[in-house]
């Protein structure tokens, strides 16, 4: 079925009118020959990489079946539109988990691979694309390619922003878990140096690490969170999401004072320097999934997320500088996430992670003021040879994209001539 409608990406910056085709079966996966198309998962990308205004969007979310699962080896073959939520519901009771997970389960397997997503275990597991032995790719000439790990089309499609064709089904290597719970330690820190120290101590012995930081505080203070799968405990999957945010919030809900109060409270939630607990994987990995459609708290104008990585070689100075600029601008979000990326390279030609520090945070859309701030941050990222994450981006410059992706030249020949996206148009506009 096809029809015309508006779709939004997660940042809800503006509606994108397009034609939508929704195949629900493998035999319905046919690409209209003469049109410009882009696959779409669950629209959890923040900016315009999942949008194609006035084009044809292939909504894959109804293509969501399991094709086979090997209980011995943990190899799962599934339709590309299956959500990570559905996979975990299926796999957790059987003692298996995805090799890595982003901060939300509400993404499709295809979307997770097209952005080569990373999780809290990046330093141990690499990206999603490190665990995908093969998939089928449908191209607009009607050809179906079986892409095995190591082949150029495989490497181009991983992190390939949906531009190389439509993944129809995907093999993913699951990992065994002893329980559905995580043994968690939370440690308060003050300053980036202390963060780095805890992070490097934790790398060997902790599978999952991340930090929440308060960008408005004078010194980068925050809570370092590290966890390992608990050895004992039931294999219970998560519950379905609870309340939804059905409407856009009025903008005053998010003024600076409220942010500051929230961040301070969050920090002081931990009374002691260090605390231990056992958490189910759902609040640990996907804390925001408890409120459906939370992006609407940013109101009608939507919001940006800024995620960059600064390379290890550059040390902590660039990140200090980025945090200083954000603090001075006073536009930061509730909380920012800081993590150290590990050394494991991904096969993806355009994969975002590289060894170093990554920071992600939301900014309510304040028009020109937001853009001025981002330009300042970009300058720091550019100077240290860092890069920005297309999955979160709605505004990076073409020059920065080109100069920070050394394998772009290898990638371009693999683009399907009929595929494009608003992001890609922005990156290739003269």
């Amino acid at each position: 079925m096809s029809s015309q409608r508006n779709i939004y990406s997660w940042g809800r910056l503006s509606p994108s009118p397009c034609e939508v085709i929704a195949p629900a079966w493998q035999d319905e996966c046919q690409l209209p020959g003469e049109k410009t198309i882009l696959p779409f998962g669950l629209g959890r990308s923040y900016g315009d990489s999942c949008l194609l205004t006035e084009g044809t969007i292939i909504d894959t979310s109804h293509l969501n079946r399991i094709i086979s699962f090997d209980e011995e080896t943990g190899l799962l073959r599934a339709d590309a539109g299956i959500s990570l939520d559905a996979i975990m519901n299926f796999s957790v009771p059987r003692g298996w988990f995805l090799p890595t997970t982003p901060g939300t389960r509400q993404v499709t397997l295809g979307g997770a691979i097209a952005n080569d997503v990373h999780g809290k275990n990046h330093h141990r597991a690499g990206c999603m694309g490190n665990h995908v032995p093969r998939f089928e790719l449908l191209r607009s000439d009607g050809q179906r390619h079986l892409c095995e790990a190591g082949s150029p089309l495989h490497s181009a499609t991983i992190g390939g922003l949906g531009l190389t064709g439509l993944m129809t089904w995907i093999d993913i290597q699951m990992v065994r878990i002893p329980s559905a719970f995580i043994d968690v330690e939370e440690i308060k820190f003050n300053g980036l140096d202390e963060f780095l120290q805890i992070s490097s101590e934790s790398g060997e012995t902790w599978e999952h690490t991340v930090a929440w930081i308060d960008c408005l505080a004078p010194k980068c203070r925050g809570i370092f969170i590290r966890g390992n799968w608990a050895k004992y405990g039931d294999l219970v999957p998560h519950q379905a999401a609870g309340a939804a945010v059905p409407i856009d919030f009025p903008e005053i809900a998010l003024n600076k004072l409220a942010l500051k109060a929230f961040n301070t409270l969050y920090y002081h939630r931990l009374f002691q320097k260090q605390s231990r607990s056992r958490q189910h994987y759902s609040p640990f990995f996907h804390p925001l999934d408890a409120v459906q459609g939370w992006s609407r708290i940013y109101g009608k104008r939507g919001f940006f997320q800024y995620q960059c990585v600064t390379p290890t070689e550059a040390g902590t100075e660039p990140m200090e500088e980025i945090l200083r600029i954000i603090r001075e601008a006073g536009q930061g979000s509730f909380l920012a996430v800081l993590k150290t990326f590990g050394e494991i390279p991904s096969p993806g030609m355009l994969s975002f992670p590289r060894p170093g520090l990554t920071l992600a945070l939301d900014f309510p859309n304040r028009g020109a003021r937001s853009h001025e701030l981002f330009d300042k941050l970009d300058a720091v990222v550019r100077d240290c040879d860092g890069r920005l994450y297309p999955a979160k981006d709605a505004r990076m410059s073409r020059e920065d994209f080109v100069s920070s992706n050394p394998r772009l030249e290898d990638f371009i020949p693999h683009i399907d001539p009929n595929f494009s996206s608003d992001f890609w148009k922005r990156m290739t506009a003269a």
Binding site: R65, I66, S68, A86, A240
Partner: protein, 246 residues
């Protein structure tokens, strides 16, 4: 999980709501599914999904609209815990009202065929003296609304038929007839619509259908809050109602 196999027959097994209900059942029971539908490849995809979840399944490729099929014979060989009638289609009302062939077809899919199959299923359950017949209707059957009364009329006819079957089987305490009324659901059938706050996922609707079946409910709105919405819609006095665009 219980020890004995839980047997489920599903007509229109490629429906997304039915698929989600079957997944929920496979999560709780060692289940066997007999899947009826027109497209063997797609039934095969549904079967693989259920098999991966630990169920077993068989496929019956049949035309559900055919009046030559002996539906009781199709149900032979098992003692059914649940028989689920899930097929239906959401017609383009204006086109259909002006095309008598289409009208006939839509009424066959949404009324005649489910009625034929349901009455055969009822006699199977009567012989078994146990089991649930679950039928998917729609909130659209609760009140004729200018935008959607053709589909609504078929579903409300089907509901009346289910009421009658329930009455007839009332003497058998272990036989239940559950009429399910989903509200707006995010399925391929509605892919072209903008998804407002009233839309629910097929997964939620399918799971809630299973809960209603387990509880032996006579009718169930899916999700439950549609009961409130539809009560209001039914109670709005006609002079006011007719001024709306619903």
């Amino acid at each position: 999980m219980s020890d004995s196999t839980f047997n489920v027959a599903v007509f229109g097994a490629t429906s997304s709501i039915a698929s989600e209900t079957m997944r929920a059942i496979a999560g709780e029971h060692t289940a066997h599914f007999r899947l009826f539908g027109r497209n063997a490849d797609r039934l095969g995809a549904v079967a693989s999904d259920l098999d991966a979840r630990g169920a077993s399944s068989e496929i019956r490729e049949v035309d559900l609209l055919s009046s030559d099929v002996d539906w009781s014979a199709q149900l032979e060989g098992k003692n059914w815990d649940v028989i689920y009638i899930a097929h239906g289609s959401l017609p383009d009302q204006e086109v259909t009202l002006n095309d008598s062939k289409k009208l006939e077809l839509e009424m066959a899919i949404n009324f005649v065929s489910p009625v034929q199959i349901a009455s055969a299923c009822a006699s199977v359950l009567e012989r078994q003296k146990r089991g649930t017949l679950a039928i998917i209707g729609s909130v659209a059957g609760d009140r004729g609304r200018q935008s959607n009364f053709l589909y609504g009329a078929a579903k409300s006819g089907l509901e009346t038929f289910a009421d009658g079957l329930r009455h007839r089987l009332f003497h058998l305490p272990d036989v239940k007839v559950t009429f399910l009324k989903p509200g707006m659901t995010d399925t391929p059938m509605t892919a072209g619509m903008e998804k407002g706050a009233l839309f629910s996922s097929a997964a939620k609707v399918g799971r809630d259908a299973w809960t209603a079946i387990k509880r032996g409910r006579s009718t169930a709105y899916l999700p439950g809050w549609w009961w409130m919405v539809m009560t209001i819609i039914r109670l709005v006095p006609a002079p006011v109602f007719y001024r709306t665009k619903l």
